[in-house]
């Protein structure tokens, strides 16, 4: 079977500096890493490959430096990687991102199960996975927390619906977005790091995606537009207490009593 995993490089931390004068926020020394939920998606695919055979392909859309997360997934058991990188793809919202990734997966033509993390840690929208499934015309399940049985033409699994667990049987090919309960991702392997040093990462630009509509990529293909960004509002009535830990505890305890919380 052919398992495809969609991955994303995201900023490491969310530490920011606020420029009060200009009213803007500045990121300082942003490190990048593989979106944590994607590590669970990759582990799910690699584990299935190890049990049932087949291959694992990872796909990412991003700037050239996003090659790092493809290399990282080679150390985690992926066989092949594609980086969709082109200035035309920049400024994509979730729809244009879904379109670009879906176009690439269509080009691969033989995916049986597509795995995505349940969301990214920078956008938090959870929209790209279902968007890809729609554009490929495949059934999908979000928040998959357990894979039960893989059959030749279907997979039985459990999803977290917030109020309970739903067991589903989904026909292949399909797309699944997974939670961090689904498995325990392995650590990058030093042996694979050495062994995959020379393995190529295929770079695809928009021309490589045959049949895709250019107006559907990037900023032009994004129905949503960011109109304005601003720092978060502050709340009005505030007291800041300083002092020894004991004094602070006393004040807080007294306030909690006064407000009848304890």
């Amino acid at each position: 079977m052919h398992f495809v995993v969609c991955i994303k490089q995201v900023p490491e931390g969310t530490e920011v500096e606020i420029d009060e004068e200009k009213g803007i926020l500045k990121r300082e020394g942003v490190e990048s890493k593989l979106n944590v939920y994607d590590t669970y998606a990759l582990e799910a695919a690699v584990a299935l490959k190890e049990e049932f055979g087949g291959s694992v392909t990872v796909i990412s859309m991003g700037p050239p430096q996003a090659e790092a997360v493809i290399r990282e997934s080679y150390m985690l058991g992926a066989d092949e990687g594609y980086l969709l990188s082109d200035r035309v793809f920049a400024g994509a919202d979730t729809l244009a991102t879904s379109y670009t990734l879906a176009s690439a997966i269509r080009q691969l033509s033989d995916a049986d199960i597509i795995f995505c993390g349940m969301q990214t840690t920078d956008g938090d929208t959870a929209q790209v996975g279902p968007g890809i499934a729609e554009l490929l015309g495949l059934p999908h399940a979000s928040y998959v927390k357990r894979l039960c049985t893989l059959e030749a033409d279907a997979i039985i699994l459990e999803t977290d619906m917030g109020d309970g667990i739903e067991s589903l049987k989904i026909e292949l090919p399909c797309l699944l977005t997974v939670t961090n309960e689904i498995n325990q991702p392995r650590l990058p392997s030093f042996r694979l790091k050495q062994g995959t040093k020379n393995r190529p990462v295929t770079i695809w630009d928009h021309q490589a995606l045959v049949g895709a509509k250019q107006g559907y990529f990037g900023l032009d293909g994004s129905p949503t537009q960011v109109e304005r960004i601003f720092p978060p509002p502050k709340s009005q009535e505030q007291v800041i207490w300083q002092g020894t830990p004991f004094e602070l505890s006393q004040r807080m305890c007294a306030k909690l009593r006064e407000l009848k919380y304890i």
Partner: protein, 387 residues
């Protein structure tokens, strides 16, 4: 160069360069005093005929035949938006045997409930639900379509948006409309460091999801208003590659979303034992324990305990945050708390910007005292024995 939040502009040899870090956020265009920066954008798609689209369509989510509470909150916001534009709120409801529930929705001020009943719609399955909503959108041409940011809504909304090729904004914390009908959607963005106002200027319907407990519920009226329209379900729309084998509801609902008091720990907790300490505090004040995202990523806590954009939204009476810096990603999920206490050793932590009561100090030194004092109750001597 300084205005760029992503360090996407560099200067080399007197030449301004835009690097791959550029997110096309357009902050620099607005900041440029001479108008020297612009963005070439082709006019893709036809010009939008705004007048053709009106009304706010709400997806009413039912689980086991029960209307989910976020639905009433969406109706509340929908009525407010519709009133601004002189329009109405209409509702999509699908499932099995839901006539009573459809009539109940009329008590919240909506004009029409489009009801789709079929045994194949009893459980949520993505393809039939997507097809039916898309059909209703094409028949009614709503200006706005709102869904709850629940597991169902977060799965369904992106598919509907992709099929309609329209814009969708997840987890909005505020929604308003411009006179021309454009929906102004506010949410934390770019990893949660900033708030972003997002619009969908050239596509309809404008789609947004909103989490439970973010908007106020519509009041229940004494008399119903509007009508229930029973819609025929076309069998060809029911095709699905998914079979629901069984559903097991969670037994205990000790969800932090429902807790009246929440004690939360963040990155400043530093080590797993710190959470044990906070759990004790939570027990003492009769509350639940929550965490921020880094602790879930560390594997110290389950994501069901996570408060914030990527976790749960809470509106407790009392919130006590320990070792939490106050990234928007977290704050967006708890700013609705009635009273916010924050303990952090960094006096410049942004959590103090939103906390009502801020304690500058080390939680490892403060919390044990606090636990002891609460335990000792009204006996002040008991407290002083500690020191």
């Amino acid at each position: 160069m300084e205005v760029c939040p992503f360090e996407g502009i560099t200067m080399e040899g007197g030449q301004v360069e835009f690097t791959d870090a550029c997110r096309l956020c357009r902050v620099c265009i607005k900041a440029c005093p001479t108008g020297a920066i612009w963005l070439e954008q082709s006019d893709a798609g036809p010009i939008l005929e705004r007048d053709k689209y009106k009304d706010v369509l709400i997806f009413a989510e039912q689980r086991q035949g029960r209307i989910q509470p976020v639905t009433y909150e969406l109706i509340g916001k929908g009525l407010e938006l519709a009133r601004c534009l002189g329009q109405e709120v209409i509702v999509f409801l699908a499932g099995r045997d839901l006539k009573a529930q459809a009539h109940e929705l009329l008590l919240y001020g909506v004009s029409r409930v489009y009801l789709y009943e079929h045994k194949a719609l009893e459980h949520f399955r993505i393809e039939p639900y997507t097809s039916l909503i898309v059909d209703l959108v094409n028949d009614t041409l709503p200006n706005i379509l709102l869904m709850g940011a629940t597991p169902v809504g977060r799965s369904l909304a992106p598919r509907v948006a992709a099929r309609l090729r329209t814009g969708l904004t997840a987890d909005c914390t505020s929604l308003s409309v411009k006179e021309n009908g454009d929906l102004v959607q506010t949410r934390p963005a770019f990893g949660g460091d900033v708030m972003a106002q997002i619009i969908t200027p050239r596509h309809r319907p404008q789609m947004a999801t909103v989490r439970h407990k973010v908007m106020a519920s519509a009041p229940r009226l004494a008399e119903p208003k509007g009508e229930v329209k029973e819609c025929a379900v076309d069998e060809s729309k029911l095709k699905s590659g998914i079979a629901v084998l069984k559903f097991e509801p969670y037994q205990i609902t000790t969800s932090i979303s429902d807790a009246e008091i929440v004690v939360a720990g963040g990155r400043g907790v530093g080590r797993p034992e710190g959470l044990k300490l906070l759990e004790q505090l939570a027990v003492e004040v009769g509350g639940a324990l929550g965490v921020t995202r880094p602790l879930v990523e560390q594997g110290w806590a389950d994501y069901t305990m996570q408060i914030g954009m990527s976790g749960r939204t809470i509106r407790p009476r009392l919130y006590i945050g320990c070792g939490i810096s106050g990234a928007i990603q977290h704050v967006a999920g708890m700013r609705g708390a009635e009273a916010i206490f924050a303990i952090n050793s960094d006096p410049n932590a942004p959590i103090f910007d939103i906390a009502h009561y801020g304690l500058v100090g080390d939680m490892y030194e403060i919390v044990p005292h606090l636990i002891a004092m609460i335990r000792e109750g009204d006996d002040p001597n008991g407290v002083f024995q500690l020191s």
